[in-house]
Amino acid sequence: MDGSRRSFLKIAGLSILGAGARPISDALAAEEGRKVSLPSRALTAKRWAMVVDLRKKCPDDCRDCIEACHGVHNVPAFDNPKDEVKWIWNEPFRHAFPGQEHEYIEERYKGRPVVVLCNHCDNPPCVRVCPTKATFRREDGIVMMDYHRCIGCRFCMAGCPFGARSLNWRDPRPFIKTQNKEYPTRMRGVVEKCTFCEERLAKGLRPACVEACKERILVFGDIEDPRSEVRELLHKHHSIRRKPQLGTMPQVYYIV
C-alpha cells in the first residue's frame, strides 16, 4: 500500500496545481480581451486646473456658465433651497474667501458674487472619507464621482470644506428642465458634483462653463505645462485660492 499512497499524493498534488492554473489562465485571457483605449481627440493633461480672473467683472445677472453646466449635466433645479443641487454657483466674496473681506476692502470686491465650483484638490478630503471609493482622484487630478458606487452616506459632503457636493434628497428626474439625452441623470440618495467635464474632455472639448463664458473669466488648462495659458496667467498675476490654510491644495485659482 506504500506505493499507492505515494502515487495518490502525487496525483493529488498535480490536480491541485491544475485547479490553480485555471483561474490564472482565465485572468490572463481576460487581460488580453481588454480592447479599450482613450479617444484620439481627447484632451489630456498632467494636471488639470482652472483660473478665475476676478479682475474682469461678470455682467449683472449673468448665469451663462451655471446654466451651461447644469444644462449639460442634467442638474436638477429644486424649488426648495434646502434640496439644492449645484455644480457651479455664485457665492458672495466674503463666503468664498472667509477672512479676506474687511471693512475697507476695494469697492469692486465688496459683496461681489464670485463663481465657485469643486476645487479638484490635490489632497481631496472627500476622497479620503469616502467608504466605497465612489469618489476618487484621477491621474490627471480630476476628482471624479462614480455614481454607481455612491451609497449616499454624505461623508464627502462633511469632508469638503467648499460645499461643492450636493445630495439628491429627492428623485431629481422631475426637476430637470430639459434633459440632455447624452448624459445620465442621478437618482435619489446619490451625491453629485463638478467633474471638470471629463466627458467633454474625452471628446476634445473644453469644460462647458469655460466655453459658455463670453467674458473669458474662466480659463482651463494643464497647470503642469509651463506654456499653458493657466500657468502664464498665474505667473504674471497675483492669485489666491479658497481656504488654502486647510491644506487641501485646491486647483481653482482666483486672480485678484
Binding site: 481588454r34 482613450l38 479617444p39 445620465p184 446619490v190
Partner: protein, 125 residues
Amino acid sequence: MYNAGKIIAGLIIFLILVTFPVWFNLGKAATPPELQLPATEKECIEPKGFMRAKHMELVDLWRTEVVRNGKRIYVGASGRMYDMSLQNTCMSCHSSKSKFCDKCHNYVAVAPNCWNCHIEPKEGR
C-alpha cells in the same frame, strides 16, 4: 396514528398545493421572448452568442473603464471602434428599451437598475 384521516388528507392537500406550479404548467412551454432587432445594423459589437450570454459583463467592463479609468473607446469583434456608452451607443441601435431590454429581463425576472440614472430613448407611440 391518531387522526390518521385528517393528517393524510391534509398531507395530500399540502402536496397538491406545493406541486401546483409544476403540474399546472406541465406541457406548456413558456414562449421565449421575441426581440425587436435594429433595422439599421446587421452586427452587434461582439458576436451574437457573446452578447446574449455576457452583455452584462461587457457593460460592466465599459462602466469601469469609462468612469474609473477614463477610457472611452472599445474595439469590437470586427475591429470597429465604439464609444463605450449605454445611452449613446447601445441605445442608438436598440432604440426601444421596452421591445429589447425589457423583453428578456422580464422573462427571466431580473431588474437591472441602469435606468434609474441613464435616460432611455423616447419611444414614439
